[in-house]
């Protein structure tokens, strides 16, 4: 028996390594200067899916919601061993909070069809909310197991997995289908050279059209033919709109988001009055005495 495992991933700005070039003169972050990367814990989720594929046999379908260039993380997934990819992209998805995002992803999962497991990274480094996984599970009315470290056993009906809890771990058993959120607990495999050779020409419909436009060439019929040819070769990255997945546009994007951002303040490094202490016996002695005198130290 082979399983179907869906992995939902996100392309994110690299907020972890903000260097000098990404800072504007006023001390705020220049987002456009940040490289777009594969969200780190989503790579852990993909790795877990690929391990399940190795252990039990599974079709691994990777989906992402994002702008057209988010196809990059999908190609990267193919290079690592994913079988099929879906780009969920539509202007109506823009500005989605976690509730609207999980709704759109639930429509995508339903369109993919029958699945046994959905895997997500615990959280994305641009928002750090960890909300989309549990919300997606609720939207699909399936159980969720969060903070997965490893899958112990998978069979036709159930999964047994180890997950982190405060101060320890739990082994949980859940019926299928189920959604797992995965933490940084494995080492994602690198992109394989052989797979890069195979999938480097994998394209979405938009990318194909862009290739044509670059060649000053538009022909809808020819586009459809080439798309079908890619599909036959397993090189088509499916590209679905809100209509394609049957999403109610009142529930996607800004319209479907109950939370609104009232304002945003950049965190600016403000210099406080720092008293410079010489690293000499005398300097440190005086500091310690000062702290004892003002009762900071007992």
């Amino acid at each position: 028996m082979s399983y179907t495992v869906i992995v939902f991933v996100k392309q994110v700005p690299d907020t972890q390594n903000i260097t000098g070039e990404a800072m504007k003169p006023d001390g705020t972050v220049n987002r456009s200067a940040l490289p777009a990367i594969f969200n780190p814990e989503d790579l852990n989720a993909l790795e877990l899916a690929l391990q399940l594929k190795d252990r039990y046999g599974a079709k691994v379908v990777v989906g992402t919601m994002g702008p057209p260039n988010a196809a990059e993380v999908l190609r990267s997934s193919l290079y690592r061993g994913a079988d099929e990819c879906v780009l969920l992209t539509d202007r109506s998805f823009a500005g989605a909070d976690t509730l609207a995002t999980s709704y759109a992803l639930s429509c995508c999962a339903n369109k993919i069809g029958k699945f046994d497991l959905i895997l997500c990274g615990r959280q994305a480094i641009d928002g750090d909310t960890a909300q989309v996984g549990p919300q997606l599970a609720e939207k699909l009315k399936i159980p969720q197991i969060c903070y997965i470290e490893e899958v112990i056993k998978l069979d036709k009906k159930k999964i047994v997995a180890k997950r982190a809890i405060e101060g320890g771990y739990e082994i949980l058993e859940s019926p299928l289908p189920a959604l797992l959120t995965v933490i940084d607990s494995n080492v994602p495999r690198p992109q394989a050279a052989r797979k890069i050779m195979k999938y480097k020409n994998a394209r979405t419909r938009s990318e194909l059209a862009k290739d044509h436009a670059n060649a000053n060439y538009t022909d809808a019929e020819q586009l459809a033919v080439e798309e079908e040819a890619l599909k036959q070769k397993g090189l088509l990255i499916y590209e679905w709109s809100a209509d394609d997945v049957g999403a109610d546009k009142g529930r996607t994007g800004l319209a479907g988001s109950p939370t609104k951002v009232k304002n945003i303040m950049s965190v600016v490094l403000t210099a406080t009055d720092t008293k410079k202490i010489e690293p000499s016996e005398e300097g440190i002695k005086n500091l310690v005495h000062e702290l004892i005198d003002d009762h900071t130290l007992g």
């Binding site: 700005p13 907020t15 705020t28 972050v29 987002r31 909070d97 509730l99 999980s102 641009d126 928002g127 750090d128 960890a130 909300q131 989309v132 996984g133 549990p134 919300q135 599970a137 609720e138 939207k139 159980p143 969720q144 969060c146 405060e166 771990y169 739990e170 082994i171 949980l172 859940s174 109950p258 939370t259 609104k260 951002v261 009232k262 304002n263 945003i264 303040m265 950049s266 965190v267 210099a271 406080t272 009055d273 720092t274 008293k275 410079k276 202490i277 010489e278 690293p279 000499s280 016996e281 300097g283 440190i284 002695k285 500091l287 310690v288 005495h289 702290l291 004892i292 900071t296 130290l297």
Partner: protein, 343 residues
């Protein structure tokens, strides 16, 4: 006169407990919830789930709850997300709270979204401050009075966003541990107990706990008066002995930056910062910590901060009251010596 208090729901706090011991963050939220409720002229109410947890009720009154909703059932122990979500959703539908607070713990961060999704309510994660204010939504030409301002760091801690929930109640948030102040309990305070009978079906308990292993944390960073924290600049696990020696001499606890934890020199329980604990001790000594935004977010409310670093340009100096540019191997023994000589 219209009594507004009858028109809007109350402030609810989800109480997290482990073996009948209430999590600190829940008590912090009770104190904050009481403050918000007072501001709005409504009540602060706790929702307590578990089995044999009735002994927690008085403590919740003492910290400021007007009401405790108590749901006890064998199937609510230990915590699993599906039955907890079911009981909470039923209660929300019946009582329509205005605000619902969760701790941003592992439990709160998996339960909150499950409940918010079913209720179609907005949820803001990891808040570091909560205020009441009006929201004039100019884009949608809507004016909202007395909404909960949900303030949180985002974008890796590089921005602070104020988020407002504009849909129907409840306005839901998870709040970071240690950021809200816990007030002294008042043992004379009393409240009203509302016993709830959980309506659970087999579908709510399909996820089974086969094994559960946990240990109480041995270190208490949040309660420490003095914290000596080491970062990547400490250089090795061996060198962390210096950090421990200073902490021991000063009667403090040992903290660490994420870089030191990731390097494997010290356990995650010691981590201070956005993905660790938020602390506000009387004295925080940052040793070899460069001071990323994520780290500073967890310690910059400390009353006094000493930074020791070989790099005079390290960002940590910008939040430090005292800056020492020097080697840890040189500075720390001098500190220990000076302190021991004086006391």
């Amino acid at each position: 006169m219209i009594d507004m208090s009858e028109k809007i729901g109350n402030v609810w706090i989800f109480i997290e407990q482990e073996g009948g011991v209430i999590a600190d963050v829940s008590l912090e939220l009770v104190c904050k919830g009481r403050e918000l409720a007072k501001r709005l002229g409504i009540k602060a109410e706790a929702v307590l789930l578990g089995d044999n947890v009735g002994k927690c009720v008085d403590t919740l009154y003492h910290y400021g709850c007007d009401t405790v909703f108590l749901a006890e059932d064998k199937r609510l122990e230990p915590f699993t997300v599906l039955p907890y979500a079911k009981v909470l959703i039923d209660l929300i539908k019946e009582h329509k709270p205005n605000i619902l607070l969760f701790g941003a713990t592992l439990k709160g961060r998996e339960l909150g979204p499950r409940v918010a999704s079913e209720k179609l309510a907005g949820l803001t994660a990891d808040c570091t401050d909560l205020q009441i204010d009006d929201f004039d939504d100019k884009v949608n030409k809507q004016f909202y009075k007395n909404k909960l301002m949900q303030i949180r760091p985002a974008f890796g801690g590089n921005i602070i966003a104020t988020i407002v929930n504009t849909w129907d109640d409840p306005q839901m948030v998870t709040v970071r541990e240690g950021v809200m102040k816990m007030d002294e309990p008042d043992k004379t305070r009393k409240g009203t107990l509302v016993k709830v009978t959980p309506k659970l079906s087999n579908d709510d308990v399909i996820v089974k706990v086969m094994e559960r292993v946990r240990e109480e944390k041995e270190i208490n960073l949040k309660g420490a008066q003095v914290i000596v924290a080491g970062g990547y600049g400490v250089g090795s696990k061996e060198n962390f002995k210096l950090i421990y020696a200073l902490a021991e001499a000063l009667g403090g606890e040992v903290g660490a930056s994420r870089a030191a934890v990731d390097a494997g020199w010290i356990d995650h329980d010691h981590q201070v910062g956005q993905t660790g604990v938020t602390v506000r001790p009387k004295l925080y000594i940052a040793c070899g910590i460069s001071g990323s935004i994520q780290h500073r977010a967890g310690m910059d409310d400390s009353k006094k901060i000493i930074a020791i670093n070989t790099d005079p340009g390290a960002p940590i100096f910008s939040v430090a009251h005292y800056g020492i540019v020097g080697e840890l191997n040189d500075v720390i023994p001098k500190m220990i010596k000076a302190y021991k000589a004086k006391v």
